[in-house]
Symmetry: C2
Subunit: 337 residues, 2 copies
DNA sequence: ATGAAAGCGCTAACAA
DNA sequence: TTGTTAGCGCTTTCAT
């Protein structure tokens, strides 16, 4: 940067020997400007390096064209892909994304959303960790809110159908002959973890299976650390909160010499790209993350246009069966690996 | 959202039976306000759900407190960690991050940076893919710019020292007895790929090694697809642009039945968390990503305070040796795996 | 086709 | 301690 004050409209006008309105019209592509003046103003503006002041423009125009987005953690590959889908739609409509990361902290997320409320024209909360009371407060605020992977009244809602996903996972494991399942859970404030837990509990009971719940988290380390407990619990199959946890767990099992899927099957949610590259490749529930983002934009877009919120959308994930799941040894079969 | 117009300062003032300045003072924590008035105004503001208009506030204050950030791709785990470090520093100083993703497209990045220039008080370009001419134009603009992983005049510069890293990688491989190395490259517009390439070329020549360069990219798929060429080229060791590429390549080698590191050693740059969980665990160059972000903020912070840019910083990465590298078979030894 | 001026919502200097 | 008001940089109506 060359330093010095910011160049304003009036500076360009003075330098070009014309008025601010003319400059404004030229730079905003108004029709009724003579060709010469237009060219002259343009060249002066370029020479001076004029950039419109965003704040002033927005204040005058009364619209911000910015979508505030919160995610618990950008390092979780789930979110960047949602943001891609969201960003594509938003950008096409002339909106920017203002992305903030809460670090899985509900209080920080509250601070961020309050902050964003005064800077954005809408909010997209991805896997919000907000306490219900605070979420309600935000939803009651002046700008529209879409929740991704969390349900809410008075908001757009776009979710992965984790209940269906959990059912698919259990069906798959049941068909293979598993009866004793461990679930390595996710972050405490996670709505989607709650969804999975409840469904897993209900279904395992119905299906005559046993479910052991283990404290987990969202990262590879959480999975690695859960290894001993998983083994101690005597489950023949493990479901983890997400692929990162599963990969960490696989790594511990490998280091410990436990055969997968011979001694224990491992499967999880999300099917992020590296799931296919895990050893063994991970059976996982593929969700359409970019589609989730795209739909979030569609909802917002409708609402910003003055319509009511569209009906909540639930995207059904697809089970991708790979080599990390197989028949349990206890069924009397030899390890196929 | 409940709908209806936005509540302004004057609405609160009217409802509270006082003036705008009093309300403004209360809400901004000025001292000279009677306790009762303060409480009353606060409760009215809360009841009405007042949120300050960010644009107006910024226009008046003449400062945006927003740092515009561009990254080529949020799905590359390198960037979220840089953003964490950057965001921590920025937040502590009352700045927000406005994160945008260019999708590895130089033209899109140009559009984004021009856009951000009028909405942010500073820019941080992570691994910028801008053409030199366009980068120069941005640097010549009205707001300060920090480049992460790219050098530039008139800007703050914070880089990983890929030359040192490349040297460490080659020394490690040379010590193991490798002579014929393949480099699976990165995205075409990547400055850091250029750094690595040049250093690898120079050093291999000096060290009496051979270097074969293979077209790659930044994702697991790029690595997987590069498999056949890597094998065909007859190298005993492969260096890839980053860990994602390496993991994809490892996967192809596994599927093809090529022993690692028995038949071929694999190593790469970045040491993202999953590198430790790859099979075999990946020898990789650990860089301090969060530190990179923190330093980027320090540079910006100094500049925003009116100082000159600090000297460019180069962070030296550390080689983390794991099981994916070993002695080549050609040296007459048996595969230790 | 161009210019003058009002006013977006807010903060702060000045007045009371 | 509180109120009045100028003005941040911009767009746009209205006048010319």
């Amino acid at each position: 940067m060359t330093g010095g004050r910011r160049v304003r409209l009036v500076d360009v006008a003075r330098e070009a020997g014309t008025s601010v309105s003319t400059v404004s019209r030229v730079l905003n592509g108004s029709e009724q400007i003579s060709f010469e003046v237009s060219n002259h103003v343009r060249s002066v503006a370029a020479r001076l390096g004029y950039r419109a002041d965003g704040a002033a423009k927005e204040l005058k125009l009364g619209q911000v064209r910015t979508i505030g987005v919160t995610v618990p953690d950008l390092a979780n590959p789930f979110f960047p892909e949602v943001l891609k889908g969201l960003g594509a739609g938003a950008r096409a409509a002339g909106y920017r994304l203002l992305i903030s990361e809460s670090g899985e902290d509900p209080d920080e997320e509250l601070r961020l959303t309050e902050e964003l409320t005064s800077h954005a024209s809408a909010l997209v909360l991805c896997s919000s960790r907000l306490r219900p009371k605070h979420l309600a407060r935000i939803l009651d605020g002046p700008i529209p809110v879409v929740c991704v992977n969390r349900t809410a009244k008075q908001a757009g809602v776009v979710c992965v159908d984790y209940r269906s996903g959990s059912r698919q996972l259990l069906d798959h494991l049941a068909n293979l002959g598993h009866r004793r399942i461990a679930y390595v859970g996710g972050p405490p404030a996670s709505w989607s973890d709650g969804q999975r837990r409840r469904t897993l509990r209900t279904l395992t009971r119905k299906m005559g299976m046993e479910l052991a719940e283990i404290t987990g988290g969202w990262s590879g380390d959480h999975g690695y650390d859960a290894g001993p407990e998983v083994l101690g619990i005597g489950a023949t199959a493990v479901i983890t909160f997400n692929d990162l946890v599963a990969i960490g767990l696989l790594s511990w099992l490998h280091d410990t010499g436990v055969a997968v899927p011979g001694a224990v099957s491992v499967t999880s949610y999300d099917d992020i790209p590296v799931a296919a590259y895990a050893r063994p490749p991970l059976t996982s529930l593929r969700n359409q993350r970019a589609q989730l983002g795209r739909l979030a934009w569609d909802h917002l877009s409708a609402r910003l246009a003055g319509d009511q919120w569209p009906q909540p959308v639930m995207l059904t994930p697809t089970l991708i069966v790979r080599a990390s799941t197989g028949r349990p040894l206890e069924n009397g079969e030899a390890d196929p690996a």
